[in-house]
Structures are given as C-alpha cells and as structure tokens.
C-alpha cells in the first residue's frame, strides 16, 4: 500500500473518534463504561493497523501508546481510589469512577495508536526531497511547507530524543542517574523544568534563521509560459546541519 493511500485510510478511520458517530449510536454496554460502539471500533482500528502497518512499527506504536495511556488511566484511578479512602472522592466510590476509566482506557488505546500510525505513515524526508527537486522552482506555499517539515523533523528526530535521554540521565530520582538519588524540592523541580524548557526551545529554534534564509533563496516557481526557456534548475539537496552553530544549552542537551 502506498503511503498516500495509507494516510487516507487512517484519516477515514479516525472520523468516528473525532465526530462521535456512529459510536454513540451503539450505546449498549459490554461492561460498565465500555460500549459496543467503542469495543467494535477498538477491534476494527487495531485490525486495520495490523494490516496496514509493518509489524515492527505496529509493536513500537503499541508500546508508545501504552506508555502514554497507562499513567493517565491507572494514575487517575489510583488517585480516585485514594480520594475515596480519605473521604473526599466522588460519592459512590469505585462504582462511580471505574466505568469512566474503563471508557478512557478504551478510547485512548484506540485513538493514540491511530494518531501515531498516521504520523508515522507520512514520509517527511521524502516529501522534503520532492519539494526540493521540483524542476520549475518552488512556490511560496511549498517554501512554507518545506520550513514546517524541516522544523517538525528536527524536533521529532533530534530534539525530543536528546531531551528524553538527558531527562533519563539527569532526573534526580532516576535509578540510573549519575549523581546520588535525592528528592527534588518544589523550587528545584521548577528550576529543572525551566532549564529543560530553555534548552528544548534553543535546540528547536536554533537553525530556523539559517533555514529561513536558505529556503528563501530557493528559486521561485516561474509562470508556465516562461518555463523551459532557461536552464533547468539544479537539483537541490537539503543543507547539512551546522554542529558548530548551537547555543550552549543545546550543546549541553546533546552532550
């Protein structure tokens, strides 16, 4: 299946989750909180993903979905349970909140894999190459798209992995942290989050001024009547990144 077809299929598959139809029509419950509509949708989405996504990618998508979903669902249920035990929770106890978390678990484990598969299906690098190798120049809209693709790619493939690595290594209470484990104070936590925010922003935006000049220099698309009268444009390659042009915070993040 071509990536364009896969994207269309996945977007169509996402319509029920985004609009609510026809999920709300099948409101009968399999279990309290889990309706037939959502149950069937969950099965259909995973069947579709298993058929349209390479198995290794599907495995990674499932793992990432579980990592995002489980803290929200089980953390929420645990907090609700604690609140119930201390007498400040919802009246009705677990009977009241369990259906909510079951519904949340089902919807998150359906929609998150679908969203991740959709993003993973779009070959951003190939799109960038296609825009750059147009023989008649690049339109204004394509230049804008090129900038968005480049920034998105940079953040997803460079900034976030580097940040996660730093957080894993430097987080004060991480079991494998290089320093002695200690409990962070609220002020220390805010300081660390602020530093992390600064480093992430610096890393994310550091090449944008350079890319803006580079992309603006690309030849504009010429009117159709003038196309072909002059030499064809050279095929352009995406520029190399400039490792020497980072901020100190970003270098520290990379280190």
């Amino acid at each position: 299946m071509k990536w364009q077809q896969r994207v269309v299929v996945l977007i169509l598959a996402a319509v029920p989750a985004l609009s609510g139809y026809p999920l709300t029509a099948a409101a009968g419950e399999i279990l309290p909180g889990l309706t037939w509509g959502w149950g069937a949708y969950f099965v259909a989405v995973h069947l579709l993903l298993a058929l349209t996504t390479p198995s290794r990618l599907y495995g990674n998508i499932l793992a990432a979905s579980a990592l995002i979903t489980l803290p929200v669902v089980f953390g929420g249920a645990a907090l609700s349970g604690l609140m119930h035990l201390t007498g400040v929770g919802r009246p009705g106890g677990p009977q009241a909140y369990s259906p909510h978390y079951l519904a949340l678990l089902t919807s998150m484990l359906t929609v998150i894999p679908l969203g991740l598969a959709l993003v993973a299906s779009i070959p951003f690098q190939i799109l960038e190459q296609q825009v750059l190798t147009g023989e008649n120049g690049i339109s204004r809209a394509e230049k804008n798209l090129l900038m968005v693709l480049r920034v998105f790619n940079h953040i997803v493939h460079d900034v976030i992995p580097a940040t996660l690595e730093v957080v894993r290594e430097e987080w004060p209470r991480a079991p494998g942290a290089g320093q002695a484990r200690r409990r962070p104070s609220p002020a220390g936590l805010i300081r660390m989050m602020t530093w992390l925010g600064i480093a992430v922003i610096c890393c994310a935006v550091q090449y944008i001024p350079l890319w803006a000049v580079e992309i603006a220099r690309l030849p504009e698309r010429r009117p159709r009547r003038l196309q072909g009268r002059e030499q064809p444009l050279q095929h352009l390659k995406p520029p190399e990144k400039h490792p020497g042009r980072g901020t100190a915070a970003c270098h520290r993040l990379r280190k």
Partner: protein, 181 residues
C-alpha cells in the same frame, strides 16, 4: 539576497511550527489525570505562554490554537474545540499584554501571565459548565462535562496555569533578555 520580507515570513512560520510542536509534545507526554473532572494536567501552556512572550500575540495565539488542540485529538477529541479556543485566546492575550518589540518590563510580563491563567481557568469553566452541556443537547459527543465537574476542575486548572506561567516566566527571563540584547 532574498527579500527580507520573505525571510521574515519563513522565520515566523518556522517559529510557529517549532512552538506548536513543542506545545503538542508538552501536552501529550506529561499528562497527570484529574479524577474529579476526568481531564488531565499538562505543561503545554508553558510553550504557549513562552511563545507569546518571546514572539508576540500572533505567534502565541496560533501556537495556542494549533499545538494543544492537536494533542487533544490524541485521546480526548471532545476537548479539541474548547482547547483550541481557550488556548488560542490565552496565547494572544499574553502576547498582547506582555510582548513589546524592544522587550517588556517584568511587571508587565507578570500581568500578562496572570491574564493568561485567568483566561485558561475561566475559559475551560465556561466551556465545561455551559457550552458543552448546551451543545450536548444536539450532539451527544460533547456530553462529557457538567457544571459540577467544571467546578471541580477550577483548582487543577489554576495550578496548571500557575506552574506553566512560572516556568514561562523563567524562560522569558533568559531568552527574552537575550533577544532584546
């Protein structure tokens, strides 16, 4: 040399894409559930506020409109509408009050962040207590909140706003100063 207007336009688009992606990631990765309302606490607001303080109301508003709403599409699609409007207005307001081309004073920035927190808390309350229950009469999809749940979410939203604003203020202190230099 390419015309500077074109370079500026591309620069702004790049900044918008960067902050919208960061707001999306900040909202998606750090999700702490709020049992009372079924919503969740996140740090996407930090990047909305920081974008508004560093680059102005247009960028701030668009980052608020795009990034967190995209994150809601993953797991909480009912909240896309409320999130896009509330955070878009929040980003625009923070930028309008707290951003000047030559760098604003700290007091003005603090006032802008306070306005942002107020819009966040009041905006979600209005949507969850009144707008969604009203819309749910015609579209059952939006029947996820009621005034009781909306009241219970005020405190977590306030906490989220304050926490995000404090971090955004720290980011502005470092990067905003560097920009104006």
């Amino acid at each position: 040399m390419p015309p500077s207007s074109q370079v500026n336009r591309l620069f702004n688009i790049g900044i918008l894409a960067a902050f919208a992606t960061l707001a999306f990631v900040g909202t998606t990765i750090i999700r702490i559930p709020i049992p009372a309302s079924g919503g969740y606490f996140n740090l996407g607001d930090t990047f909305v506020m920081a974008a508004a303080l560093l680059y102005g109301p247009w960028i701030g508003g668009l980052v608020g409109l795009i990034g967190p709403a995209l994150a809601d599409a993953i797991g909480f699609p009912q909240f896309i509408l409320a999130t896009a409007i509330v955070k878009g207005v929040e980003g625009a307001a923070v930028g309008l009050i707290g951003w000047t081309p030559r760098g604003a004073a700290a007091g003005r920035v603090a006032a802008a962040l306070a306005a942002g927190i107020l819009i966040l808390v009041a905006g979600y309350f209005v949507f969850e207590a009144f707008v969604y229950p009203l819309m749910a009469r015609w579209i059952p999809f939006f029947g996820v909140t009621d005034p009781t749940a909306a009241l219970a979410e005020i405190l977590p939203n306030l906490f989220q706003g304050i926490f995000s604003a404090v971090i955004a203020f720290g980011i502005w202190r470092v990067l905003g100063k560097k920009q104006s230099d």
